[in-house]
């Protein structure tokens, strides 16, 4: 049984074909799998390994490195509350405490209904709206305790489903890239560019003997 849906498997194969070294498609494939399933399951990592000809341990090594790739099951909405400097001064820590009370889980936890995972995050560059939070990497802020409760309520009742898709869905994972440019052509173009640059420099400064 394949983990990927037939449609995603096709996308996966296109992604693999984009790179001279298959392994380069590892992170795009992780995103693709996460988009399908919300997180990277064991089966997903095994299949990615098979597609790339590497061990699942290597897939997990990469996936576990990045915060935006989840190897454990997460809720439909991953809520990240920022506690970095700007937000901290604006009450980020208090907001995190409140979020924890509202959702009934500590940071890192997932609600029993599988709707929300709460995370404490470092600066997400939304400082002008401190204290801020992100839900599936969409920004909200500034948030008072009341604003947060309303946000949770809206999410829970599908009132924001247009702007906040379920966790894992990213808009820029798959692109319609043209077929891979053969490496020889790339090397050739680089050589030509280097030579042109060298000639240009030589013309500008004939005394330098071609040195940069």
């Amino acid at each position: 049984m394949s983990f990927f849906t037939p449609e995603n498997l096709e996308k996966a194969q296109v992604l693999v074909g984009l790179y001279p070294d298959k392994r380069s498609a590892l992170i795009p494939l992780c995103h693709l799998a996460q988009g399908q399933h919300g997180h990277l399951s064991k089966e997903a990592m095994e299949e990615i390994g098979d597609l790339l000809g590497i061990q699942p341990a290597e897939v997990m090594g990469t996936a576990s490195f990045y915060d935006m790739l989840h190897t454990e099951e997460v809720g439909k909405y991953v809520v990240g509350v920022c506690t970095n400097v700007a937000c901290l001064l604006g009450g980020g820590l208090e907001l995190l405490d409140h979020a924890s009370d509202t959702l009934g889980v500590p940071p890192g936890g997932t609600t029993e209904d599988g709707m929300f995972t709460l995370e404490e995050v470092e600066c997400v560059a939304h400082c002008d709206k401190a204290p801020c939070a992100q839900v599936n990497y969409r920004y909200f802020g500034p948030l008072s305790n009341g604003d947060f409760d309303k946000l949770v309520d809206d999410l829970a009742n599908d009132r924001l489903s247009d702007s906040v898709p379920p966790h894992g869905v990213l808009s820029r994972v798959f692109r319609d890239a043209p077929p891979m440019v053969p490496l020889e052509i790339i090397h050739q173009e680089r050589r030509e560019m280097d030579e042109a640059k060298k000639a240009r420099l030589a013309a500008q400064n004939p005394d330098a003997g071609g040195k940069q």
Binding site: M45, E46, Q55, A57, S64, F65, Y66
Partner: protein
């Protein structure tokens, strides 16, 4: 492991001292050669450098003055100025160690690495005396078993990347990886995918802390309780160099020694952990004689006198030809010589053989031009027609993998089934017996079916005479008779006279047996019976009057009542002969079977007399690896009970017959070998131990090999256990080995022996008799690393890894049989014997074939391979 080191010498300055270094060499290595040890954790000379631990920071002068740089990542340049002992460097080392120790649990008293731990040693030498860290350290569950053989303790790990680099880069089994990031980084395995690499023990050996420990060595010993000797592994024919360490007369562990010509410091797990069999309570400890169907203990005196009278009796009645000897892979060169001298030179029978239908005839091996390992891994091209190297000779697989990955050579493979070599090969061609014949004749010609192989070879510049080609020759499929492989090799050697062969049979010391006459028709020195040297004629009492029988012929003769006395020495033909039914029936018919063994095997269990032999590490001597390289084996412990070395048993038997073999120690035997055998000329214990490098010597010895090369410097952090044991009680020295002195005596020896028997013996037997399938599926009979044997069965930890008896077929064949994975089939041999096997479908098996693993089963009445079949078929039906 710097990539492009040139031989150009440059001058750099280290701590104000001018030293010579090779251009491109890493600073840390150049400094070490100059006697300046720079502390390190992640750096290992056989791994690509990563610069992870920062322990090797030194000050290097640049355009803006001195700055701290990692010496493991810096190639030396002309005029480089380096300072390794400044205050700044010391502060850096102190700081790095303080960081590494923040999360280290300091549970040294209960850690196996205690006493040989680079983290302990280097903290003492370069680190802070106290920690300023008062917070809670991070915690992990500890230890966790990541395989049957290796425990992982993540708290102790300093994330040097040695084990993960080894698994990925060297072994190609990236089953362990770094997970997480920052202070959450851990080494671990993927869920339900244990670290079941054949090379997992090496990660324990190179771990610079106690994060990875070996299950069989857990809480066994401390380095200050251990003493060690250099030796060579005899698990397969590779002969990996290693240290044997023991405590209180018990072998505790083996550690790989870095031999540049052989194993690069690595061992396979079967070799590394096989020591447990030596300590097994199941070992034979006294001679056993069968009395009324039961074994009773007897004395050596009565056992030997019984043998003496049996030999005299048989010799008197029917002639020496009715006595046979089967030699096993346990034997040292000296043991082999003693047994061969007893058989051929005293008793006068030539029926001596060391193969069990799973090898190649000694005279074929002896007649093929031999390639060394280094020649093979740097050949223009390598053609492999051999059993799966990773399963049979694992460390050779590492050497080949390294050679292919680093672009030193290119490989092509022919065979009947998928193997680990396919991934290393440019082309892997499936071959039938008929094609093999064409291939041998026209390998390099255009238009053959194997044009792709030919294209690779010609692109690599292999000459039309085979110049630059090395053939790895073994038993690719044990269901094909050895005559097929022999004919192919002989034919190929004629078509490509300059091609060299590396015979990749698994059995340890097959090479020594070939060189020392352990084969019918051969005498020590790879000479034929009729070409006996004058020295040999002088030393030996008699010479066999006619060419004797190989094992198969002995067994067939036994069925005809032509074998009265058989010596089975370190061999278990009832289980290991290729046709177990023939072996069983034949051994039942032999008048008197003497077994010389370490365990009661299937064969010795039913012998008439069993003599207990000393095992590996219980005797000294030499062994010869597959390329003809001779190494010393050293005794470390005393054998249990009254076990004796094989050569002494042979000598005692000769004495019973009124003859003196004429030697009283392995050293004297080697001296005699060097005297009677042209190819061993110049060899002596003294030379091997005192003047040779850790690499041993390839026979025949060339004059250049006799010139002394310095001992390799041993970086004590690369294999901590060796240097630590070495250093116990000695003044702390940075390097365990010092450069050897050159001796004039060795230089005086010049010239090479001339009249080597390198003629191709015997004509090829093409065309083969046409093959009549006697079943519905072609048999593919393979071998795995953990195929069962007495040695494996008696090593408690390894015995858990013995392969399961399963048969593998392609999905299409499975469909035709009407079974799926997990289903059962009955496999019947030609004689009608059969057994039920679980089915596993596998794309890599050919359609119309079934693969079963030799040594995964031992079923009375069932022998899938029959000794008389050229190609074996079996009948497979749904059970």
């Amino acid at each position: 492991m710097s990539t492009d080191v040139s031989q150009n010498l440059i001058t750099i300055s280290i701590d104000g001292r001018q030293i010579q270094a090779k251009s491109g060499e890493l600073l840390i290595e150049a400094a070490e050669k100059a006697g300046v040890f720079i502390p390190r954790f992640c750096f290992h000379n056989r791994l690509p450098q990563v610069g992870m631990c920062r322990m090797c920071l030194v000050e290097v002068k640049g355009p803006r003055g001195f700055s701290l740089q990692p010496s493991c990542y810096l190639p030396v340049n002309e005029g480089m100025e380096v300072v390794t002992e400044s205050e700044k460097v010391k502060k850096a080392q102190d700081g790095v160690l303080e960081f590494l120790l923040i999360n280290h649990p300091l549970d040294c008293p209960t850690c196996d690495k205690g006493g040989e731990c680079p983290l302990q040693d280097q903290t003492l030498a370069y680190g802070p005396g106290e920690s300023r860290f008062i917070e809670e350290k991070r915690h992990w569950e500890k230890p966790i078993a990541i395989s049957e053989l290796v425990y992982l303790d993540r708290e102790r790990c300093i994330q040097c990347d040695r084990c993960t680099r080894f698994a990925d880069v060297v072994a190609g089994d990236a089953l362990i990886e770094f997970f997480g990031r920052g202070d959450h980084t851990e080494v671990n395995v993927f869920p339900e995918r244990p670290f079941s690499s054949y090379f997992s023990g090496n990660t324990v050996q190179i771990c610079p802390v106690g994060a990875l420990t070996a299950t069989p060595y857990r809480f066994k010993a401390r380095p200050w309780d251990l003493s060690q000797v250099e030796s060579s592994c005899t698990t397969c024919s590779m002969g990996c160099r290693m240290m044997v360490q023991s405590s209180q007369n018990e072998v505790m562990r083996y550690l790989g020694l870095d031999s540049d010509a052989v194993n690069h410091g690595w061992l396979c797990d079967k070799g590394r952990f096989g020591f447990e069999a030596i300590n097994s309570p199941e070992r034979l400890t006294a001679p056993l004689i069968r009395k009324g169907g039961e074994f009773v203990e007897t004395t050596w005196a009565s056992a030997l006198s019984l043998i003496g009278s049996k030999v005299s009796e048989v010799r008197g009645a029917g002639g020496a030809g009715r006595i046979g000897f089967i030699l096993g892979s346990r034997l040292t060169n000296e043991d082999i010589y003693a047994w061969v001298k007893l058989a051929k030179g005293v008793i006068g029978t030539d029926s001596v053989d060391f193969q069990l239908g799973d090898g190649l005839r000694g005279e074929v091996i002896a007649s093929l031009p031999r390639a060394t390992l280094n020649e093979a891994v740097s050949a223009k091209a390598v053609l492999a027609f051999t059993g799966d190297i990773k399963e049979e000779i694992p460390v050779l697989f590492l050497r080949l993998r390294d050679a292919v990955r680093s672009g030193k050579t290119k490989m092509v493979t022919i065979g009947t089934r998928a193997s680990s070599l396919d991934k290393l090969s440019e082309v892997s061609a499936s071959v039938t017996v008929d094609q093999l014949q064409l291939l041998a004749k026209g390998l390099l010609h255009e238009g053959s079916k194997f044009a792709e192989i030919a294209a690779v070879l010609s692109k690599q510049g292999v000459g039309s005479d085979g110049e630059g080609l090395v053939v790895l020759l073994g038993r690719e499929n044990l269901a094909w008779d050895q005559s097929v492989v022999e004919a192919f090799a002989v034919e190929l050697s004629r078509a490509l006279p300059k091609a060299k062969f590396l015979v990749t049979l698994r059995a340890s010391n097959f090479s020594g047996s070939t060189d020392l006459g352990g084969s019918p028709g051969l005498l020590p020195g790879r000479t034929r019976l009729e070409d006996a040297s004058p020295a040999l004629r002088q030393k030996w009492v008699v010479l066999p009057s006619q060419v004797g029988r190989g094992v198969k012929e002995m067994f067939k003769g036994a069925l005809q009542g032509e074998l009265d006395l058989l010596f089975v020495i370190g061999s278990d033909p009832r289980q290991d002969f290729i046709d177990t039914e023939l072996a069983g029936a034949a051994l039942d018919r032999v008048g008197f079977v003497v077994s010389v063994d370490t365990f009661l095997s299937a064969t010795s269990e039913r012998a008439d007399l069993v003599l207990p032999a000393a095992a590996f590490a219980e005797k000294s001597g030499t062994t010869t690896n597959l390329e003809g390289r001779v190494f010393t084996l050293n005794q470390k412990v005393t054998p249990p009970g009254v076990c004796r070395s094989d050569w002494t048993i042979a000598s005692e038997i000769a004495l019973e017959l009124g003859e003196d073999l004429g030697f009283g120690s392995p050293a004297e035997i080697l001296d005699e070998i060097a005297e009677v055998s042209l190819i061993h000329w110049g060899l002596s214990f003294d030379r091997l131990t005192r003047t040779a490098t850790v690499d041993g010597m390839v026979v025949p010895i060339s004059a250049t090999a006799l010139a002394i090369r310095p001992r390799a410097l041993l970086d004590q952090v690369s294999t901590p256990g060796i240097a630590s044991v070495w250093n116990q009680g000695l003044a702390s020295s940075k390097t365990a080995y010092v450069e050897g002195e050159e001796s004039e005596e060795a230089r005086e020896v010049t010239g090479t022996p001339q009249s080597l028997s390198t003629k191709v013996l015997g004509a090829p037997i093409w065309p083969l008799a046409s093959v009549q399938p006697t079943g519905n599926l072609a048999l593919e009979y393979s071998r795995k690393l953990y195929s069962q044997g007495e040695h494996l069965k008696n090593s408690p930890h390894l015995s858990r890894l013995i392969v399961e008896a399963k048969c593998r077929v392609s999905p299409r064949t499975a469909k035709e049989l009407g079974v799926e994975t997990g289903g059962f089939v009955r496999i019947s041999d030609k004689a009608g014997g059969g057994a039920v096997f679980e089915v596993e479908t596998d794309d890599s098996v050919r359609n119309g074939a079934v693969e079963i693993v030799r040594g995964s089963f031992f079923i009375s009445g069932f022998s899938p391979v029959r000794a008389d079949e050229t190609v074996n078929y079996v009948k497979v039906e749904r059970a």
